[in-house]
Symmetry: D2
Subunit: 358 residues, 4 copies
Amino acid sequence: MSSVGDDAETDTEATTRAGVVGASGFTGGELCRLLTAHPEFDLVQATSREYENKTVGSVHPNLRGVDLRFSDPTDLESVDTLFTATPHGVSMEHVDEFFEAADTVVDLSADFRLDTEEQYDEWYDGHVAPEYLEKAEYALPELNRENLTGAELIASGGCNATATMLGLKPLVDGGLIDSNDRVVVDVKVGSSEGGAGGGAASSHAERSGVVRPYAPTGHRHEAEIEQFLGLSTAFTVHAVDMVRGASATGHVFPGERVTKGDLWSAYRDAYEDEPFVRLVAGGGGVYRYPEPKAVAGTNYAEVGFELDPANGRIVVFSAIDNMMKGSAGQAVHAANVALGFEETAGLEFGGLHPVGAP
Amino acid sequence: MSSVGDDAETDTEATTRAGVVGASGFTGGELCRLLTAHPEFDLVQATSREYENKTVGSVHPNLRGVDLRFSDPTDLESVDTLFTATPHGVSMEHVDEFFEAADTVVDLSADFRLDTEEQYDEWYDGHVAPEYLEKAEYALPELNRENLTGAELIASGGCNATATMLGLKPLVDGGLIDSNDRVVVDVKVGSSEGGAGGGAASSHAERSGVVRPYAPTGHRHEAEIEQFLGLSTAFTVHAVDMVRGASATGHVFPGERVTKGDLWSAYRDAYEDEPFVRLVAGGGGVYRYPEPKAVAGTNYAEVGFELDPANGRIVVFSAIDNMMKGSAGQAVHAANVALGFEETAGLEFGGLHPVGAP
Amino acid sequence: MSSVGDDAETDTEATTRAGVVGASGFTGGELCRLLTAHPEFDLVQATSREYENKTVGSVHPNLRGVDLRFSDPTDLESVDTLFTATPHGVSMEHVDEFFEAADTVVDLSADFRLDTEEQYDEWYDGHVAPEYLEKAEYALPELNRENLTGAELIASGGCNATATMLGLKPLVDGGLIDSNDRVVVDVKVGSSEGGAGGGAASSHAERSGVVRPYAPTGHRHEAEIEQFLGLSTAFTVHAVDMVRGASATGHVFPGERVTKGDLWSAYRDAYEDEPFVRLVAGGGGVYRYPEPKAVAGTNYAEVGFELDPANGRIVVFSAIDNMMKGSAGQAVHAANVALGFEETAGLEFGGLHPVGAP
Amino acid sequence: MSSVGDDAETDTEATTRAGVVGASGFTGGELCRLLTAHPEFDLVQATSREYENKTVGSVHPNLRGVDLRFSDPTDLESVDTLFTATPHGVSMEHVDEFFEAADTVVDLSADFRLDTEEQYDEWYDGHVAPEYLEKAEYALPELNRENLTGAELIASGGCNATATMLGLKPLVDGGLIDSNDRVVVDVKVGSSEGGAGGGAASSHAERSGVVRPYAPTGHRHEAEIEQFLGLSTAFTVHAVDMVRGASATGHVFPGERVTKGDLWSAYRDAYEDEPFVRLVAGGGGVYRYPEPKAVAGTNYAEVGFELDPANGRIVVFSAIDNMMKGSAGQAVHAANVALGFEETAGLEFGGLHPVGAP
């Protein structure tokens, strides 16, 4: 099979063969977009049962110039790296097949995010391939870079968990909070988080303009946050009127009062060398705090904070594109690390201004 | 002067003369809308310095059929009730003039919301008519109905405070929380909250699609909440992409665990007789929790809650139209109570479905 | 069965029994909203197969306070007036049953809008009750008021046709254009026009922000326009990002040049006595032309025009709420005329300002 | 001065020095975005009087990682190519200064788009540097590629004219229409077209959700269309609820009937070798016609058509990002051609899916 995307970017030197399973979904489409323009990857297959033989551009209009058709997911090409963007529960059923087709598997579902079968069973339903849980590495390089090099099974994180953890991690690492402290996380997300499916609640007429509490308590992403940060969060998610984006506001009550200087130190230490994290904390202008639309389409996260003198509260803001830093971008970033590519390869797009409600 | 709005509603029996100061602003326009269709009030004057002699419909297109022109605010008609929708700080300078023109003054600014000069000075700048603070009654009937009858100076509450207090009050009254308990309030509001002014940050290109933390800490509406509920809240406001609406999510950690039954009892006790509060707590369908767009244009508040078994947190949701229940509607409601009218007079509109991002 | 909506409006004198078939859909919900607050109608039944026994408020959150549950459409109550808001093709199958249950039937589908079976067959598929076509009266009072009094079968018009005809009719009646003149109509509509169904194209993620040509040619509403105005229009519809609203721009090339004075005469003659048409043609301010959001939720139409000196073109603008003036409001207006009620009864709501994308 | 954007893209070999005048505006920001990631250009200066010494990222949040500060426009660096994104009328006053600083000037205003002083005076106010009009080349390569090579003064086209001309040109070139044929153009645009200024009409509360006819007749972009295509268009522009995007629908009545085959031939002939034009005409899926949100952020234009059998009308659709293909992207594309770079250099971004209302 010949490589695709020749008309979009000259990736003639791309030699790492890649495939995408579940390519007609939203995050599958993002993977196709990133991989066809990636300097190292050569996208050779994109599967979709529903749209078999149709061009990827017939579903994803931004890929109209890409010369690739969806193929049957039961007939996987042999590739170096396989990205799987299937609904939760599907990848664990097919993970053996995935590894027959590829050396490296990067999964975007929740199937391999947690460390143990016990954890999985607590938050999801029974795992059918628990032996892979230990083998899997969490994709977020800001949390897990050291373990990603050479990883064979990579689990891209949950979008809300990603936004939350990027916001809170510097406080934990900096010793400013610990597991005894009260942490409330109030998340606002766009409609793409629900995937390409649909249904009455997702229709434009019903979904437009909402501030809809859709996961008031018990959100499964709490499990990832606890696993990585050791924090039990009081976590609530609201749907708001945008398509892309997740904005997490952490209301954190440290055991001991902290200063603005403590916060700057902690966040600078955590992120000064991170290529995809922008610190945005006050200053002038229109965009004084992290803003999801400022990172729409990108792999960047914006992180910022304020201190509430009235009660010692640290207010932490983080903003990502849920489909990029919160899913497909994170997956490609992790693959770049795992395979020894330039970390930012294929992820250079920096976003638009002005932009509406992407 | 003849009465107006004859073509819209037959209010031929309306005999209480009303005026609106600051009628070209957003909440001033709402007052004109409500009063021209009100069965008791006869709107005889609407002032605007900037638009003097223009029709109210030239600024407020929904009032195009109303036969009334803006007039000079320095030449107030004698009325029974004067509604003042001026920027903060203006009403306290002119309150004596207002009472020369009217028996009853209903002010929509922050000038008379707090009880004492000390409180005012803590959150705003020096008060120039502190002698009126004690005289003023807070407008929200759900909090203060018993004091409104016959009140001469009524202070309509802050929109974010209104949403928050309607959500939390049943917990306080029901004895489920007290001032020692941790209460985080995360508010999402529409662009009309900023008023008719404008500026780069309010332009459509910059303001569309935001999840913008515009008051991370120190919001002045905390003062009202503390005054009425005795609660010190950790309060943060985000601007989201809607024009009308305020949605407040309270994350409340009671000293002792409560049950779902405790919550139902508390909220039913508080609101079962309230004509403008709808309890919305779970159930099926698309709209399971309070939703600002479901009350857009109305004087209704929706209030609901969930219980987080993981940590005992009570999650409280409340949704209002910031310009109605959060301002002009609340003002008319309070005036109805003060003057002995039917409480719901002129406030019957129940909202639209479906509706986008009103 | 007792009447409903007592808590919303005091319609204790309402004595005309009404029912709504297809009440869980968008226009069915509008009918319920209008009829529960109508001074003459007493809504006694609202049918929905899918939501039988659920409250109407469980589907339409603006009706949460209404004490009425959906019932089985095969068990119709005896009423005076039955409003039927079913998909195209359903009413003609059940029209005999409808008349067994009611004296007057007001149908919101396309089934009875055209005069003859031939016309119907040209634009739709075979009619199963063609004997009713002649009996049916088109609902739009601005076009057909003289025939509505006492009508037993009323056909509410298509929303795009309604907007278009209200814009063009004065030109025809005023003799400024005739069937030989070129008329292009470019319509922009909201997502509620597609009904409560859904599907991938209607999902929020795909439908947000579009300027989507969804009926480039051959739109069925052309048939109504030709029937009533004798004009063959070059007609194209675009979906844009709003939920409610239809805006029709007519680009009209009269055989002989007309003046601005001709236009003002024609439009004033046509609409000066119409209670639900506002002429909006230039002037100052932000809203210089008809604007759908200015009439959202109302039965008003805004109509305006400009003259293009470069080529003699008349540019006609009209804006309505597709679910109100374009459907349910028009139906109630027609019923008011048919039954001899005050024309504006139950339709007084004048809209909101500011308002987002309703 | 050192080059900027090193952290975004490795443009270490970029050797053509570029500057942007008017860099704090919307299209100026787009130029900065494109040039910092461009493989040939090295952006050495971005001017803004208002924001002098502030970072470009303080105004354009997507450029937060770019190490460049605004400087005074009266102190221009010596560069190879100067891009000027100033309000209409400014460039013609300073064009001599521009050429003192640069060999090539690419202007984004309307100052040099028209060929003669007579044309300019007809549509704008008196030109102060008419001697440059003949020298200037129109930027749109699809219209004017052959004259761009080596051009020293390039005039980027109007966004609405660009969209319109890309839609209609194949009909003219293919001999399917001529200047005697009736052509109506109905354009829908986003709020970024108004620039970064603001004002009440542009505020989020007023501008959201509109279908606002803001240029019903006499739009200045008609001049460009007539100059290049020889067509006099009946042209009307509507503002709709998006930030980026222009969608032009042409309603064209050819003197003789054409077939779908004629259209396919004409459009394929025109665009089969164009790197930035996608033909989108029917087919299945959600996106069957040109859609502005599908090209948001990109330099692509989508063009499509339908044939109306009822009247022989050709309906032409074209969609662009007004700030990219309609302004800054077109400018960079033209500069690429003028300077002999790869045409697509720096313009590879292909857009996002799904995306809201960018």
